[in-house]
Symmetry: C2
């Protein structure tokens, strides 16, 4: 059977582009320049339409900046300037719209120097790391663009995560292509979930869906791109690279849609959604077929292996935090342990080994092996290593505190003092030379409070704070396998973890084995299970899991260490639930589970 | 004209009680005991109805605790147990209701061992420090209680802050008394605003309004009570004490209401509010007139002078943070300056001088006067003062950093090092003895970053972090006036502020005069004015304000120091906009105003 839709002739094809760019929150002028540049690139590719990520002009998430009137005004002015540069291409640009004191997370349709239509996000996420109802009112219209007769519906991010939403309303009104603008932050495994959402949406509505996501790091979030095009059969036609800027360009031929829809029962839109959304209006845009329309390379689907995706997220998050805060160089306390080894490797990969200074801070309790391992690591990475023994400081604090501590037994206080001497040295060095300190604590430590506030927690950006210890090991192995080089000495990977704050100290003296610990943390934090349920799950393990006492001790440690986490630096979110604005708990709390 | 409503006879009067209690977030069992105890007190007073604050069972704000199923289950179980203790009195108790996976900020009506009705909050605040749409769905029903024929409408907090809301719907359906459950955090001047809201509501609906607020500190928030009863003439009939637990009991005689309403045009309820809210149903409760009905003391209106209110907020916030986190004793670095003087006085007033240890940490740059002033302060307060000269640590850090810093000029790094030696000493002491450190930074410093991260910012609870420097002076004067004693030496109040981190250093070398600085901070933070507007306002001052350069420098300082504030300890919110969850800004930001 051949298609009978040939009658729509040359106008049955539209060339669309997803501009997966790395904006900076608040840098309205810089973002505007970036948008103009990428509109140009899309035109060079002969695109009829180019779509940018959510809130392109302001960057995402702009947070309370949007509560300043002058910020909103600057964002509107920039949109106007961008519009002035737009000719015979339809550009969809995210910005903050405002009306009668209300703000909207919106997409402007720019065409021939004008804003020809605006779409305002209808479903506003207010969970996890998202606070959109703090700022925005919900839109209630979903205009459809008719580009040479091809009908395009616009929506923003969360709008397509609802089981039935504006896309269904638009498809019922004839939309053949859905363009969805996103700022969807990375978490491990999320791209698979996005593909599922987008391909299902396409299939159930027999529609093409162009999904545009941003890339780059913004404080605790990393946006991983992976923009994509899905077809009406529910197939993923192509996707952009992850974690880097990219222009995904594709020709969409809607000829076969009519046939596909012939026997397709359209999605029923529930009444409450119809109440929320006005009947779509159509904006006719007679975009001329571009005279230059270069041959496109065949589309492919970019897939990234789990550990490589996490590693890339850590590199991008760290690199962008430095770039966007205006710092070039970092100092890392390199202990010879596995956490600082991983952070040093990530930093070197993110900003170049020449911009990383390792500092070894041996104490009277440091093993000989620690220094050797630190040296080996830094020499393999090409990172400069400074050595500053902390004994003078250690002795001075014993002297200063001698009288006050007389008659007490050395314990946790004395251990923390050492960690804070190190923290002070690192901060002094960073302050002196205008660098940032990258602390090296992992998620297992952040969870249980097995870290010293103002000591090893001190610094600007806690690269692996959302990486559980067991994943730290996997990532070190992965980094050695992926190259370049094999920078992490096997000795560091093999030795038992120790804070080396007293003689012969081992992590497992204070904490359960990391395998158990990380399972409990995952269940309690990410799955929000009750301790009772965690005990059940552990006891059901074939090899027998953690004891009830261990589970309750870990949960208690997590609960009582909220005060430390509240004062911890930001770091890259890589899991489904990170510490930070993803998880908001009282410090003073009487809840004992 | 005489009232013709005498026919309603003895049932024209209802005795209501507002139980202004201090719950602890998460301490469900403790809160339940407290509720039962205060129901008993209300019964002793012969009350027909007793109302508790918003989310009484869980404490407010429970934050992400409500996302744990076992927390919700525990809260429901506690409500059930409380209901079992309720006899011939109507108790309105706040709890988290749940249905089909949705949560509601609700009030249960308990009567004769049963939950006889439930009200679910309709208007959910999601601004400032509030995140209620993160957790809760909106209710859509507002049942009315008929107690011996007297009609009582329930609502929760934000519900009465809307220009027209559930109270209007309830009044249109005959409600004669509105009971409003609150968890309204303190900010300077807010009680006046609440009185306005409540009296206007009463007047425009010709209704009695019983407003119940909680008291006590919870992390950064302090709830200040001030529960009140307003009458249908718009008069404030009486209010409870501020900042302390209290039972406000009043007889409401509705006899005159009918007459008042005769010529009163009822509020028109707009259609969108009617769409949101179902037609009220009435729950009949034949509460017998209590046999014991003691004579009530005459109601009075408690007023608190501005500075005393702020001072009480600081005491309660600090005292409750300690009590609710389980700590008894604090250490404060007493520099001889005005900030640490104020914090020491507050701490002594909050938990007793015997639970406060001052620590003087003189360096080579400390003036003789500083030690003398610190001694004078502590002796007046009865606070123990330790002296630990930091020279050994200072010299040791110079030694340890000598090689790394060779050829550089001493500057900010060296100053910060000293502050961090002090921070380390304070934390070591607190860790050793199980105390908390109270850092002493004020809002002017937090705004401009004129404080050292991990140095003088180190500690558990930053008592005056929301108190601008000019208010620090006012509060010290106030504390000396209010007594007991006159603990803050005039020498401390009179000397020019200095961090004493280098010879002859004065704050005004680095910062504009505090009067100017605090105005700019207020306009930029609390009023969210643009720098341009602030410049205009300053230039319009009769005495001529800050220069444009000063305004822009201060704004820039505020912007670039977000990273420090993100790692600062919590502290009492006393202004309309505090740092913390009240103000959420990106650290990495390209916005330059």
């Amino acid at each position: 059977m051949t298609s009978d839709a040939g009658s729509s002739g040359p106008t049955a094809t539209i060339r669309v582009a997803a501009a997966q760019i790395n904006t900076t929150v608040g840098d309205i002028d810089g973002n505007a320049r970036l948008i103009e540049e990428w509109i140009g690139r899309a035109q060079e590719q002969g695109a009829d339409l180019v779509a940018f990520p959510e809130l392109t002009v302001t960057g995402y998430p702009p947070e309370d900046l949007v509560l300043y009137d002058n910020f909103i005004a600057a964002n509107r002015a920039a949109l106007g300037r961008i519009a002035q540069t737009v000719g015979d291409i339809v550009a969809l640009v995210g910005f903050v719209d405002s009306e009668d004191g209300s703000l909207f997370n919106a997409a402007a349709v720019l065409y021939r120097r004008k804003v020809v239509a605006t779409y305002r996000k209808i479903h506003l996420p207010n969970y996890g790391v998202f606070d959109e109802r703090r700022y925005f009112s919900a839109g209630n219209e979903c205009p459809i663009l008719s580009i040479r007769g091809i009908k395009v519906g616009i929506s923003i991010c969360e709008d397509i995560w609802e089981p039935v939403g504006p896309s269904e309303v638009q498809c019922a009104a004839g939309a053949q292509v859905i363009v969805n603008l996103n700022a969807s932050p990375y978490e491990s495994g999320k791209q698979g979930h996005r593909i599922e959402i987008v391909t299902r949406l396409s299939h159930r509505n027999r529609v093409y869906t162009l999904y545009v996501n941003q890339v780059g790091g913004q404080d605790e979030l990393v946006f991983d791109g992976g923009s994509m095009l899905a077809g009406p059969d529910g197939d993923l036609i192509g996707s952009a690279a992850r974690f880097e800027e990219s222009l995904l360009v594709a020709d969409i031929d809607i000829t076969s849609l009519e046939r596909l829809r012939l026997h397709h029962q359209a999605q029923a839109v529930p009444q409450d959604e119809l109440d929320r959304i006005a009947e779509p209006t159509t904006v006719e845009l007679d975009v001329p077929v571009p005279t230059v329309r270069p041959q496109l390379p065949e589309l492919s689907v970019h897939r990234l292996e789990r550990l490589e995706a996490v590693y890339r997220a850590l590199i991008v998050g760290t690199g962008d935090y430095l770039k966007k805060t205006g710092f070039k160089k970092v100092a890392i306390a390199v202990s010879g342990g596995i956490d600082s080894a991983l952070v040093t490797a990530i930093a070197a990969d993110a900003i170049g080994a020449e911009n990383v200074v390792g500092v070894a801070l041996p104490s009277r309790y440091s093993s000989e092996g620690s220094i050797v391992d630190a040296e080996d690591l830094c020499s393999r990475l090409g990172v400069e290593l400074w050595k500053i023994p902390i004994e003078p400081g250690h002795a001075a604090f014993e002297e200063m505190l001698g009288e006050a501590f007389e008659g007490t037994e050395p314990g946790l206080s004395e251990e923390n003092t050492q960690a804070r001497i190190r923290g002070n040295l690192m901060m002094s060095i960073a302050n002196k030379f205008g660098w940032l300190v990258l602390p090296t604590g992992n998620k297992s430590e952040m969870a249980t409070g097995y870290a010293t506030l103002y000591g090893d927690m001190a610094g600007a950006y806690a690269v692996i704070k959302d990486v559980p210890k067991t994943l730290v090991y996997e990532l070190c192995d992965h980094r050695n396998r992926r190259g370049p080089g094999s920078p992490i000495p096997q000795a560091i990977i093999d030795k038992p973890p120790s804070a080396e704050l007293r003689p012969d100290q081992l992590d497992e003296d204070s904490l359960p084995p990391y395998g158990q610990l990380d399972r409990i943390i995952h269940m309690y934090i990410e799955e929000r299970m009750s301790p009772d349920l965690i005990v059940q799950k552990e006891q059901a393990l074939p090899e027998g899991g953690a004891s009830e006492a261990t589970v309750r001790r870990v949960v208690r440690l997590i609960d009582i260490n909220e005060y430390k986490r509240r004062q911890s630096p930001p770091g890259v979110k890589i899991t489904g639930l990170a510490f930070g604005k993803d998880r908001r708990l009282p410090i003073a709390s009487g809840w004992q589970r």
